[in-house]
């Protein structure tokens, strides 16, 4: 179930304006207002003025009034320089007061809005404006106000699309606004998403997609090429291995060369092994720079010596001075003042910390340990290099000797020679393949995609391209979903409106047929205004009955309760219809306020009183100056007098009042 929101008018007051000054209240007790209030104001009392003021107060429209219009609300007799019209409201239990302050000198109306119960909390020095709570503003605005404050021409206004907006009223009352809210929220979501992406739209997607496709194909191609080469290499290596074995076997089968071959082969293997071992030794030894150059050794020793001479690291660490700065007295016995401490702390930063001292000392001791004699270190390294060189030569020699043996064997054996040729050829082919395979390991990122062969580079580019594609795909997907959702929401709104309007129309027509069973006037369509069929422009009474039937349907059972204010509610209606209309009134709204004239009392007021079980307020407002009326008023107790007006809150007075003035205001 949805929550009920309620707007009630608790009363109003007027002072210094062209209608008589008076204050009226509709509160029954602290929590309730009277469901029906009838206000009798004879012609010339300012009924029209009051309704205009009410409409202005509830919509804020007077902020735009021009000088002349403002002045037209000033009292004719004994005009004052200012006037006030206050409306007291209650919205969902909270009190709101809207004050219109008329400055007739400036020709302006200023609004003050307060929430809470004390209207004297206004500060007239500060214009805070027409500021009802946000939720109320849907109805307290110039457009909607005409839908619940009818200044006499209720029916005509309902039928006139320039004057009222039945569609908007229905949207408000049946909470259709939430469709727009949801739709706007979805659209805002899209706006936020699109503002954070770098490319949108089909073109951006196509470009990114093409990039991904290209890179995928390129990667596939490179991997395939690499796989082909690797396979080729593998086959050739297998062939090489087989050929080498064949070669070995062939040589071994030759009794004359077999033994010598084994000897030379072993010698070569040993020579290779020796070279490999010495390679690692040289690499290891070359990590000490002083091994490669005696000069480096000497310069490092010089550094160490100079640090010793300069007493680096110093024997005292930075921490010592930092601690000293905290002492009350220096080492020398002098008291340490603030400026001394500052100086010590500043100077302390020039010293090494104790850890740094340790490190520097370890560097110095390593120099001492490793470079006892620079020339000796260098010489030892040179000796190693010499050994290395000789081992390389031995390897070369062993290889040569083996080659010579092979060549001799091959020269006497063509098959062997062929196998050797094939082995050499295979070695070249394998080396060639390996050279070609290197490009797939290339890390160069400068070249365009089509000239980049490094597989890892292409893989990285592909990953980035896929991320960018995903980003735009997501964007396009969100756009499509946004469009779909907004279309669905709009369709749902249209369907809802169609059905609700149809429902209201049918229900209203049912009421009309009960009100006027012999009349064929019906509502044909509910749009901005009501459209009638059966009788194009019905009589005043007929259209008024239609209006009431419609309003009763509209207000019945909704969770938004707003007051219904009308001038001359039953003026043009036939008596029998009046009675029926009167019976509908309590169902129209939780608060019904009507300005009535004396002729409406009999056939309208009495049935109305019955329909709401006597829970009715009766007010009569008139100008001072008629002695007979004033005398009559004195007989009653609920009478309020102002400078130029009298308000009588009494049923008997109301029912017996006959006063009619010659001049309309």
């Amino acid at each position: 179930m949805t929550k009920t929101t309620t707007l009630e008018i608790l009363g109003w007051s007027t002072r210094g304006l062209r209608c008589p000054d008076y204050q009226i209240t509709f509160e029954k007790d602290n929590e309730n207002v009277y469901p029906v209030t009838l206000i009798q104001m004879p012609n010339g009392t300012g009924k029209t003025t009051t309704l205009s003021l009410l409409r202005a107060a509830l919509s804020g429209e007077a902020e735009d009034w021009k000088y002349k219009k403002v002045l037209s609300y000033q009292k004719r007799f004994n005009p004052t320089s200012f006037g006030e019209f206050n409306v007291y409201l209650r919205y969902n239990g909270s009190r709101i007061t809207i004050m219109m302050y008329f400055d007739f000198e400036e020709g302006k109306v200023r609004y003050f809005t307060t929430t809470g119960s004390d209207p004297s909390s206004f500060s007239l020095g500060k214009d805070n404006g027409f500021r009802p709570p946000k939720d109320c503003r849907e109805i307290l605005n110039p457009e909607f106000i005409n839908f619940f404050v009818f200044d006499g021409e209720l029916a005509q206004q309902l039928l006139d699309p320039e004057f009222s907006n039945a569609e908007k009223a229905i949207e408000y009352l049946y909470q259709l606004k939430y469709f727009d809210q949801i739709k706007n929220a979805v659209k805002s979501y899209w706006d936020r998403k699109v503002s954070s992406t770098t490319a949108t739209g089909k073109k951006g997607y196509t470009q990114r997609k093409q990039k991904v496709v290209f890179l995928e194909e390129r990667l596939k191609q490179l991997k395939e090429e690499k796989a082909v080469l690797e396979n080729e290499r593998k086959i050739k290596k297998q062939e090489l291995l087989a050929l080498k074995q064949k070669y070995e076997d062939k040589l071994a089968s030759n009794a004359k060369v077999r033994q010598e071959y084994e000897l030379r082969k072993t010698a070569l293997e040993n020579a290779i092994k020796e070279v490999n071992e010495l390679t690692q030794q040289v690499i290891k030894a070359s990590r000490s720079p002083h091994n490669l150059s005696e000069i480096i050794g000497h310069s490092v020793i010089e550094l160490k010596k100079s640090m010793d001479k300069l007493k680096l690291p110093e024997s005292t660490a930075k921490e010592f001075f930092m601690e000293l700065a905290e002492e009350p007295v220096c080492l020398c016995g002098r008291p340490l003042e603030h400026e001394h401490r500052l100086y010590i702390r500043e100077r302390a930063t020039h010293y090494l910390g104790s850890d740094e001292m340790t490190l520097l000392n370890s560097i110095k001791s390593e120099i001492t340990n490793q470079i006892e004699d620079p020339s000796k270190c260098s010489q030892e390294y040179q000796d190693l290099l010499e050994k290395y060189n000789k081992a390389i030569e031995r390897r070369m020699s062993a290889a040569t000797q083996l080659d010579v043996l092979k060549q001799d064997a091959e020269s006497g054996d063509s098959e062997l020679a062929d196998v050797q040729k094939r082995i050499e050829s295979l070695n070249n082919e394998i080396a060639n393949i390996e050279e070609r395979l290197k490009i797939y390991e290339d890390k160069d990122t400068e070249l365009p995609d089509e000239r980049t062969f490094g597989i890892s580079v292409i893989e990285k580019r592909l990953e980035e391209a896929r991320e960018r594609l995903a980003e735009i795909t997501e964007t396009i997907t969100i756009k499509r979903k946004t469009d779909q959702l907004t279309a669905i929401i709009q369709l749902a709104l249209d369907l809802s409106k169609e059905q609700i309007f149809e429902h209201i129309k049918n229900e209203a027509n049912t009421r009309i047929s009960r009100l006027m069973p012999y009349n064929h006037i019906r509502i044909s369509k509910v749009d901005r205004a009501l459209k009638l069929e059966g009788q194009e422009a019905g009589s005043m009474g007929e259209t008024l009955s239609v209006a009431y039937a419609f309003m009763a349907t509209l207000y019945n059972g909704v969770e938004r309760q707003i007051p219904f204010i009308v001038d001359s509610p039953a003026n043009s209606i036939d008596n029998n219809v009046r009675t029926q209309v009167a019976e509908h009134i309590p169902k129209l709204s939780k608060q019904f306020i009507a300005f009535t004239i004396s002729s409406e009392r009999g056939s309208f007021v009495l049935p109305l009183e019955r329909a709401c079980n006597g829970d009715i307020q009766f007010f009569t407002v008139f100008r001072r100056g008629d002695p007979s009326l004033e005398e009559l008023a004195k007989k009653f107790s609920n009478v309020t007098y102002t400078e130029d007006g009298i308000l009588v809150a009494d049923r008997e007075f109301f029912m017996n009042f006959h006063k009619e003035s010659e001049a309309d205001e």
């Binding site: 070279v275 690499i283 100079s306 490190l359």
Partner: protein, 149 residues
């Protein structure tokens, strides 16, 4: 962080499989740069991260390398070994005890990396082309350092 110029990785590509660490390539570049006193600043996109501190196998050699680096920096900045304040200041800038096995401060490491960047240029010029085998490289490199220091 020690950073290896990407050029060096390509230059050593034929022989790097003989090295136990990529740091070996870095060291050779640093030594070449130090002996010739050549530094170069490269954008980080032209270098790659290696390691935060000297590898275990360089534990004792690291101190000599750092000492040689300090020597060359003092020479480059025209600081006499008798100028205590200046020597002290330089040492304090380049040494950092909190960097565990790194020994060098961030500033010190940056400068050493610059020597590596300069060193690969030196090697390219000295050798003319990238080395084909490890034996030739080691012999030629040793000779080069010996004559250039």
């Amino acid at each position: 962080m020690f950073r290896l110029p990407l050029k060096a990785e390509r230059w050593f590509s034929n022989i790097k499989h003989h090295f136990s660490f990529e740091f070996d390539m870095y060291y050779y570049c640093v030594l070449a740069g130090l002996v010739k006193g050549v530094k170069q600043l490269l954008p980080s996109s032209d270098t790659k991260e290696l390691i935060r501190s000297f590898p275990q196998d360089y534990r004792s050699e690291s101190k000599i390398i750092v000492a040689y680096f300090l020597t060359k920096e003092l020479e480059k900045q025209g600081i006499s070994l008798n100028d205590r304040a200046a020597v002290h200041s330089l040492v304090k800038r380049y040494i950092d005890s909190e960097s565990l096995n790194a020994i060098l401060s961030e500033e010190g490491m940056r400068e050493l990396n610059n020597y590596a960047n300069g060193g690969i240029e030196v090697l390219e010029n000295e050798f003319g082309h990238k080395p084909e085998n490890i034996e030739t490289f080691l012999l030629r490199f040793s000779k080069f350092i010996s004559k250039s220091a």
